[in-house]
């Protein structure tokens, strides 16, 4: 593998470490592309009249699976390709609409090595719009404990997300 690929290890992490922010301007295309990529054909994610008249929202809004993909992108931008998601939990308090600027922030809540030797970072993440959190997220992602480790090789009882 190229030496240029970033691979974070748990040895280099500290509790409280702050992840770099990610900002993205949301357009109608962002929402529709995300819905279609996730095979979500429901009209509130592509039909403004339906979203406004039926759902009572101000516009179409980003769907749940695409928000999950945005969080995964945010995490693996930070970890590099050896970062392996174990668990992700998010609460959507409000919706993300075209015209919004999404800002992702995060910090390391804890770092641990489990009983089978897998390294983990537990993270607190937020998706905000206009400075207001719209989605709170916690994630547990496996990281190599050193440069030779690879969480993707773990199977069976060696994988405890």
């Amino acid at each position: 593998m190229s030496d240029e690929i970033r691979n974070l290890t748990t040895a280099s992490l500290k509790e409280g470490e702050v992840l770099p922010s990610l900002s993205h301007d949301v357009t109608t295309s962002t929402v529709v592309l995300g819905a279609m990529a996730s095979r979500d054909w429901r009209p509130m994610h592509h039909d403004r009249s339906f979203a406004v008249d039926r759902n009572g929202t101000k516009d179409i809004f980003m769907n749940t699976p695409n928000q999950a993909a945005w969080f995964e992108r945010y995490l693996t931008d930070w970890t590099g390709p050896k970062g392996r998601l174990g668990k992700i939990q998010f609460r959507m308090k409000d919706s993300v609409f075209p015209g919004d600027t999404m800002v992702f922030n995060g910090k390391v809540a804890s770092v641990e090595t489990d009983a089978v030797g897998c390294g983990w970072a537990n993270l607190q993440l937020t998706l905000s719009v206009g400075g207001k959190p719209v989605t709170d997220c916690t994630a547990r992602i496996a990281l190599p404990v050193d440069a030779d480790d690879n969480p993707w090789k773990r199977t069976g009882d060696d994988w405890k997300p």
């Binding site: 592309l33 969080f71 992108r73 390709p81 939990q89 998010f90 997300p161």
Partner: protein, 170 residues
């Protein structure tokens, strides 16, 4: 709205329903489209050498797990549209709650999903709340788990959705 949950719905809680297989083998087209939709440049999904070295070949991003069980909008011979997460729509209908949104999503990931895999899912209703009023309207919250296994019987993941079905205020 009565506080009491209809017996029919009470009976759904804990029951494995809608055991379904994915409608097509897992393929990379949706992987690339998904990565593109969120501008995810992770070389694991774009560089075959990296995929071979780290995961023994191409895989799909874990967060795509629900993508694979969403049915086609139309298919030949199908007389009515199939809904993903049918238990969610059954609850809306049975409780007379015409609108719904998802509020919480928890996903636990098992073995990676690979091109050519065929997945099987089952939906399990875990709970339904008493009536609640939010800014959207009055309705109920419910929690539905979706369990995924692959063609080798390996656990691929479990999703837990919290939905809120509601009637808008007049």
């Amino acid at each position: 709205m009565s506080d009491e949950l209809p017996a029919e719905i009470q009976g759904w809680i804990g029951e494995e329903r809608y055991v379904e297989k994915t409608e097509f083998p897992i393929e990379m087209g949706y992987v690339y489209t998904t990565c593109s939709s969120v501008e995810m440049g992770n070389p694991l999904y774009w560089d075959e050498k990296v995929a071979q070295q780290l995961t023994g070949g191409p895989i799909a991003p874990p967060s795509m797990i629900s993508v694979w069980f969403r049915p086609h909008q139309w298919a030949p011979g199908r007389s009515k549209q199939i809904q993903p997460l049918q238990v969610h729509f059954d609850l809306k209908q049975a409780l007379g709650l015409p609108e719904a949104v998802m509020t919480d999503n928890t996903i636990t990931f098992g073995v990676p999903v690979r091109p050519g895999d065929s997945l099987e899912t089952a939906q399990i209703l875990r709970s339904v709340s008493p009536p609640k009023t939010t800014k959207l309207g009055t309705g109920r919250f419910w929690v539905i788990d979706v369990v995924y296994i692959n063609q080798r019987g390996e656990h691929v993941g479990t999703e837990s959705y919290t939905g809120f079905g509601y009637k808008r205020e007049a």
